[in-house]
Amino acid sequence: MTQYATDFSRTRIRSSARAVAVLSLGPLVIVAGIVWAFVQPWRVTLLHPYDQGFWWLAVEPPLLVILAGVLFHAFVARPLVEDLEEPG
């Protein structure tokens, strides 16, 4: 293997490792939110919406965590990985 090919493949491996790291952030956060919803189901008031006040229905922390993960993955992580894999 030539020096150029070795350098190129090292750069590709580094880029793909970083791409995996970026792409795993959103799913990790989503999984954390789902686990939280299972551990404390009373925090997800959509499951039992009767007699809940407005704020308890509007602000459900496990769902907010999942939402943050989904938005990050869809709108930030994916385009970022496209840019990462494009030659500078």
Binding site: V29, W55, V65, P79, D83
Partner: protein, 194 residues
């Protein structure tokens, strides 16, 4: 119609979590790749600025004490300053890299405000614990963006800063108005909520 304080903490925690994710991603790919799309470079500074703006209603409506109001207004001001400074640097309107010091200033002021406005000891209640924990995480965590201001390419400083912000969001998500911490709840704190 005013939300309970814990709900406000959770809403801010969501915003802070998103900022933390953006910072983590930036730390992983590096500033050069992060800045390849212009809009992306504006994301977290704009969010920090926006969170600073949203801190003003908190200051106005949650007036438990004078020190609470002062703490919230100090956060609002330093968050807006840090966000605006980063926006200025990203847009090229600010040239001096010393403006990056606004971020560690924001963390240090926020940490000090958390510690000063919490009158109760660590194990008084969950809320007291969260305030102490956030205060120290922010105060010590300010060293990471301080280092990053001088060594912007350092992964340790950029990653450390991102992890500090994610840790703050976790602490804020664990905040409750009245709840025990490690089995401790002072009787004077009131009756435990759900």
């Amino acid at each position: 119609m005013q939300p309970p304080a814990e709900h406000v903490h959770w809403l801010f925690a969501t915003g802070v979590l998103f900022v933390g994710l953006l910072l983590l991603a930036e730390a992983i790919v590096g500033r050069e790749v992060w800045g390849r799309r212009r809009w992306r470079a504006y994301l977290w500074p704009a969010l920090v600025f926006g969170l600073g703006v949203l801190m003003w209603p908190v200051m106005v409506f949650y007036t438990n004490s004078t020190v609470h109001m002062l703490a919230h207004s100090a956060w609002a001001q330093t968050m807006m300053l840090a966000g605006a400074a980063e926006l200025g640097l990203v847009s090229g309107k600010l040239k001096n890299e010393a403006w990056r010091l606004c971020v560690p200033l924001m963390l240090a002021v926020s940490g000090a405000a958390f510690l000063i406005h919490e009158a109760n000891p660590w194990l008084y209640s969950r809320s007291a614990f969260v305030h102490h924990a956030c205060g120290w995480i922010l105060l010590l965590g300010a060293l990471f963006p301080l280092g990053a201001a001088f060594k912007p390419r350092s992964w340790v400083y950029a990653g450390g800063y991102a992890i500090v912000i994610v840790a703050i969001s976790i602490a804020l998500f664990s905040s409750r108005d009245v709840a025990p911490v490690f089995g401790h709840l002072d009787p004077s704190a009131g009756v435990q909520h759900r």
